[in-house]
Symmetry: C2
Subunit: 141 residues, 2 copies
DNA sequence: ATGGGGGTTCCCATGATGGGAAGGTCAAGG
DNA sequence: CCTTGACCTTCCCATCATGGGAACCCCCAT
């Protein structure tokens, strides 16, 4: 039996987060020593590592809860797990796409900017809503 | 002169956010009518649109503040603006990379999961820290 | 018994946004 | 003139996941 600090080190989840997960019901309340210290055994540490890995894969806490429930349910269908994972892949794809659009727009602007000591700057012109003078207009035709 | 609702519609920034930007000092305090309503002219709306576009490009509020300062400074060097934009591109790249790694890991797991009615699931096995039996182990040799 | 390194709870902050309550204001129409 | 509905004001709370820190208690080794 380990205390919360040891469990944190063993699982890679900070003590702060362990308490938070418990408070929000993601994980069941840990046992307590007579003086109120939380205690963790190997099984609890495994749960924490599970949570850690799922979070590392970008699952929001709520989905981690769903995954934990499936993990505990020996009657589960692997299809349910797969669905969750595919949903997460889609969520990631959406965010990746959004960020790549931002990046592309920025690269376009950066490309048009001289980046020297002069004040003229198509980046600011664009942000300010100006038409960017003569530099590849948005309505290309 | 428009009130905050009209300015919100004209700029694409919600009234709530306009007040927040003012409160945090990102934009200067708006003028007020005798009865306390905030008033906005075309110039103020342009500032709001500037903020909106910069946020759409993923700049955090702090950097938006920097951009606004450069925008207002007619002595600026475009190199300074470009540096900010390039920094933002890097920030985006980092986050994109992280998410693509998550996505790749998930795809790997999803690929290995039958996704049927049976409970056996390499996804859960992996999250639980098991070695995934005989299915392309992590230490491939 | 004392000191240092834990543990415990509770509150606050982040970043950017939305929701909502309580109360004042404005404009249009009866 | 008064009502009504849409709008404004401020203030508080919630999100999501995480960290910081205060105040206090506990355990072990010296």
């Amino acid at each position: 039996m380990m205390n919360i600090g040891e469990a944190a080190r063993a699982s890679g989840v900070s003590a702060k987060m362990i308490r938070y997960y418990e408070e929000t019901g993601l994980i069941p309340p840990a046992g307590r020593t007579g003086s109120g210290y939380r205690t963790y055994g190997p099984k609890e540490v495994q749960v924490l590592r599970f949570v850690r890995r799922a979070r590392d894969l970008g699952f929001p806490m709520e989905k981690v809860g769903d995954l934990l429930a499936l993990w505990r349910d020996r009657e589960r269908a692997s299809a349910d797990v797969k669905r969750l994972a595919e949903g997460q892949i889609e969520a990631l794809e959406t965010r990746i796409r959004e960020m790549m659009e931002m990046k592309a727009a920025l690269e376009h602007l950066v490309h048009a900017c001289a980046g020297d000591a002069r004040p003229d700057c198509p980046i600011l012109d664009d942000l300010g809503g100006r038409v960017a003078a003569n530099h590849c207009s948005t309505t290309k035709n």
